[in-house]
């Protein structure tokens, strides 16, 4: 049995993380889990990014005592991924703070309830009866 080339394995892994993250983001309901799913997806795409500079057998782009040790990998994706990770951290911090806030405001960490309550709130602020009275079925559909 021949193993697939390393880069394909790595690529597949990165894409899988991305997909797992996105699927979790769409299918999840718990807000904290959604934030985690987001972190997974970001990790996947960050891996993808750093993979774009990868070449097998090359060295890290650091000069040792002023010498080039051999063929080196592309330094740019490494810098980019550093930036991307930091961006991800900032956004996740914001997301968690918001989750805390939402839990305080609506008493829930469920996306479904959040949506319902949020829209009720928006409608109420606009002086409208809740939407369920107009077009929606009387009871909320089962999940």
């Amino acid at each position: 049995m021949t193993l697939p080339p390393l880069e394909i394995v790595l690529y597949t892994g990165a894409v899988s993380l991305l997909i797992i993250g996105l699927a979790g983001l769409v299918m999840g309901d718990n807000l904290v889990r959604l934030v985690l799913a987001l972190a997974v997806a970001e990790a996947g795409v960050n891996l993808l990014l750093v993979l774009s500079g990868f070449r097998q057998g090359a060295f890290a782009p650091i000069l040792l005592e002023g010498r080039v040790p051999g063929p080196m990998v592309d330094p740019i994706p490494q810098a980019l991924v550093l930036t991307a990770i930091v961006i991800g951290v900032g956004v996740q911090a914001l997301a968690l703070a918001l989750v805390l806030r939402v839990r305080r405001a609506y008493g829930t960490v469920e996306m479904r309830t959040l949506r319902a309550r949020l829209h009720e709130d928006l409608d109420a602020a606009a002086g409208l009866p809740p939407e369920t009275s107009r077009n929606a079925p009387a009871v909320e559909r089962p999940a």
Binding site: P5, L6, E7, I8, L10, Y11, T12, V15, S16, L18, I19, L22, A23, V26, M27, L51, S52, G53, F54, R55, Q56, A60, P61, I62, L63, L64, E65, G66, M72, D74, P75, I76, P77, Q78, A79, L80, L82, T83, V86, I87, V89, G90, V91, A93, L94, L96, A97, L98, L100, R101, R103, R104, G107, T108, A143
Partner: protein, 231 residues
């Protein structure tokens, strides 16, 4: 049903991305700009760690942007949670046990030293302001985990982050004033691989390290000070 559709679409996206792999030169991507940097980076910037050369010199404004994102996140979190600070009369979480307290006290100086080392050697070895900054933040946050009643002085944190960020921009503006290019490398390049080399890069990394440390410590302590909201 919804879950099935979601899975179907997620799988579809995965399928398309994997199909793309056939046409993507993964592992053998053309190195165009990267090769240029590998070629001229050491001379132009003077940093042995070429990633640092990219982060702080070639793509310095990216780094400024990412610092700003951290700043925006910290400011945003402060703003969002501003009404949720624990009140003085509320009981904080119980203090940590002996192991946590002792470890926090013991690790604090070590973490500070390691953090500073990583910050200062960012232009020579793997690491730099971001990584070192996070370690510094951990150093200051760890004691708070042990003693939830304490809190960081947010005014100091604000000033540190403000001044460190300001220093980064000011170094850039200094270059603009002297050399005519924002964030151009300044000062002598020094001997490649020595601590005092790569011109302003270490200075920039110190600013980054302080700013990241202050932001993350501030962020985490704000979150920690937030009352565990019982709905």
């Amino acid at each position: 049903m919804r879950n099935f559709t979601s899975l179907l679409f997620a799988g579809g996206l995965g399928f398309f991305l994997l199909v793309l792999a056939a046409d993507l030169p993964v592992g053998a991507a053309p190195m165009v700009a990267g090769e240029g940097i590998l070629g001229q980076g050491p001379e132009a910037v003077g940093a042995a760690n070429l990633v640092t050369a990219v982060v702080l010199a070639y793509r310095g404004i990216d780094t400024l942007g990412e610092l700003s994102i951290l700043f925006a996140a910290a400011a945003g979190v402060g703003l969002i949670l501003s009404g949720m600070r624990r009140r003085a009369d509320q009981r904080p979480d119980p203090e940590g046990g002996f192991i946590l307290l002792a470890a926090a006290d013991l690790l604090f100086p070590l973490l500070v030293i390691v953090g500073l080392y990583i910050v200062l050697h960012g232009h020579l070895t793997p690491g730099g302001g971001f990584q070192g900054g996070v370690i510094l933040a951990a150093a200051f946050f760890l004691p708070l985990l042990g003693r939830p009643g304490d809190s960081l002085n947010h005014a100091v944190v604000n000033w540190v982050e403000g001044l460190a960020g300001g220093a980064f921009v000011l170094i850039g503006l200094w270059a603009l004033a002297v050399k005519g290019d924002f964030l151009a490398p300044m000062l002598g390049k020094g001997a490649l691989g020595s601590l005092f080399s790569a011109g302003t890069l270490p200075l920039l990394y110190i600013a980054v390290g302080l700013k990241v440390g202050a932001e993350i410590a501030g962020l985490m302590s704000t979150l920690q000070e937030t009352e565990a909201a019982e709905p």
